[in-house]
Amino acid sequence: MSTPETPKASEERAARTSVFTGEALARLEVDAKDIISRYPKERSALLPLLHLVQSEEGYVSVDGIAFCADQLGITTAEVTAVATFYTMYKRRPVGDYHVGVCTNTLCAVMGGDEIFSSLKEHLGVGNDETTEDGKVTLEHLECNAACDFAPVVMVNWEFFDDQTPESARRLVDDLRLGNDVTPTRGANSVCTWKQASRVLAGIDDGRATEGVQASGPSLAGLELARQRGWQAPDPADLPAAAPATEDGAK
C-alpha cells in the first residue's frame, strides 16, 4: 500500500528519526486500537487518529501520516488528503500554547481585530507563527461559537471570554512565563497543546467536572426570567386548545 513519496517528503523523512517507533509506537498502537474499535467502520477513526499523532509530536508529520495509514490499512496519500483539509491539523510544529483570536465579523467589530494586531506586535510574530521560545503559536480564528462573550480568545481550544488587548497581552505573557492561566469557561488550568490533542482524539483526561457550568451571558435570559417570574407553560394547565398565539404576539 505504499505510495510514491515526493522527493521532498522523502528527504524530510530521511532527515529525521520517526518518533513512531519502539515504546512510543507500542503505546500509540494501543490507543489507536481502542479508538478504531469504537466505530462500525475503521476508516471513521481517521480524524481521531490524526488528533492522536498530533498529540505525540505537536503537529501532523509525514511519520504521523504514515502511522495513521498503517493503522487503517490505507495509503499515505489518502491520509494526507484528509490531514490537509482540516485547519486544526498543523503541518508544522506548534508551540505549547496555541492562541487563537476570533476575527470573524462580530468578534472583530467588538475588538478582535485590535486584539489580534496587538498580540502580533507584542509577540513579534505573524499569523500562524510561533514565538522563538516555542511557547506560543498565534493564529486568527473564525467563529468559535461564543459570540455573546465577544471578543473571544482560545488557548489550546479553551475559552477566554470578553478579552481586551491588555488582558490578552497579559495572558500570553503568563503563558510564556509558565504561570497558570484559567479559562473563563473550561478546566481549572490550560493543558498543553499536545494534551489537548489527546482529548480530541477521544482519550479522557478526567477534567470534565472542573470549571463553571455556565456564566455571564449564558445565564442572562435565565436570570431575567427568574426575576420576572417567567417560566414555560405548565403542561397541566394549558390554555384550552389555543389556536397557537397569533402570528408573533406583540
Partner: protein, 438 residues
Amino acid sequence: MTTLTPILSKNWDRPDSFTLAAYREDGGYQALRTALGMEPDAIVDLVKASGLRGRGGAGFPTGMKWGFLPKDNPNPRYLVVNADESEPGTCKDMPLLLANPHALVEGIAIASYAIKSRNAFVYVRGEVLHVIRRLRHAVAEAYEAGLLGTDILGSGFDLDVVVHSGAGAYICGEETALLDSLEGYRGQPRLKPPFPAVAGLYASPTVVNNVESIASVPSIVANGADWFTSMGTEKSAGFGFFSLSGHVTRPGQYEAPLGVTLRELLDMAGGVRNGHRLKFWTPGGSSTPIFTDAHLDTPLDFESVGAAGSMLGTRALQIFDETTSVVRAVRGWIEFYAHESCGKCTPCREGNFWMAQVLRRIEAGKGTEEDVAKLLDICDNLLGRSFCALGDGATSPVTSAIKYFREEFIAGTHTPAWELFPYQRTTRWSSESVEEDA
C-alpha cells in the same frame, strides 16, 4: 407580550447542572422511561404532532425527517447529532452542552429508540475542548447508570453513543459533508438525492439532527405535543434559544417561544449598548440576509422572517449599531466563506475568493464604479449553483447589505470605511460602550 420560557436552560444556574445527579433531580431521564414504554412509531408521531422543526437553521420538521427512513432497508440505521456549531453568530449549542449535556444524551436515547437505531454519533466541532470533555463525561455517566449501552432501563433496547471530534471545517456543519467527515474523508457535501434518510452514514439510512432539536425531544415526550404547540406560532411551534451578541447591553442566551420579536428581546437585554441606535442585524447567522431597524417587529418565526426577506436560521442575532461599517462586516463574512469553502464547487470556491478581494478594496476606499455591479453579478452566479447551502449563504450578506446600504459601498470608491466609521468606536472597551463595563 412574549415572555421567556427557560426549558433547556432552566437548570443552568445550578453549579452541578452538567452532572447526571443534578439532571435527574430536575426530572431528567423520566421522559426516556416514558418513551421506552411506547411504540417507537408513536414517538415519531408525537414529534410530528409537536411541529418541532430543525433548530440547526433549515427548519425542516424533525418528525417528518424521522419518518423518511425507509422501512424495507436492511442496513443498520444511524442517528447523527450535528454539534458542529460554526455558523458565525451562532453560540447556543456549545453553552447548552457545557451546562446541560444530559438533555442531549436523553434526547439521543429517545430519538434512537424512535427511529430504531442502535448506534448514535455526536459530531462536535473540535475547537471546544471543555465542551467535548463535558459531553463525553455525560455519556460515560449515562452508560454507568444503564441509560445507554445494553438493555437500557430493562427495556431490551441497546444503544451505543460515540462522541466524535471534528477538526476545524465549517463545511462539516452541512449534513452530507458531516457524514463524509465522520466516515474519515475530507468534509465535502454530497449531491442530494439520495438524502441521508436513504443513504447516509456508510450508505445506510441516517437521521442527522441539530443538538437543540434532539435536546428538545425529552421535553416533548414529558409534556406532550399540546404543551409544545402552546408556545410559538402555528407553523413555528415551540421554543428556542435566541442568542444576542454584539452591540447590546446584556448579550446572551434568551430561551423564548418562536415568534418573539427583536424589539422584545432587545428590551429584555437592556437595549442597544449605551444609547446607540440599531443599524443592522442578522436574524440567524451570517448566512441569513441582514435586517435593519425596519424589522424590529418582525416575528422571529420561520414564516415571518422568510416573508420579510431573510431566514430564521439559528436565531443568532448579531447586533450592530450605527458606529459599524456594513462594508467591513460583509468583508469579514466573505473572507470567512472564502476560507471555509471546501473547494468542490467552482462558483463558491472562486466566487468568494474574488468577492473578498473586491470587498477589501471597497473597504479601503479603492473600489471602482463597477464593483457593486460586479459583486451582485458574482452573487448571481453563486446562488443556486453549488452543491450545498454554504454557497447560497455566502451571497446573503452581500446582496442584503447592498440592498439596504448601497451608499456605503459607493462611498468605498473614494473613502476608506475606517474613516467613515472609525473602527475604535465599535469595540467593547471604547468609550461608546462605557456602561457595559459597569
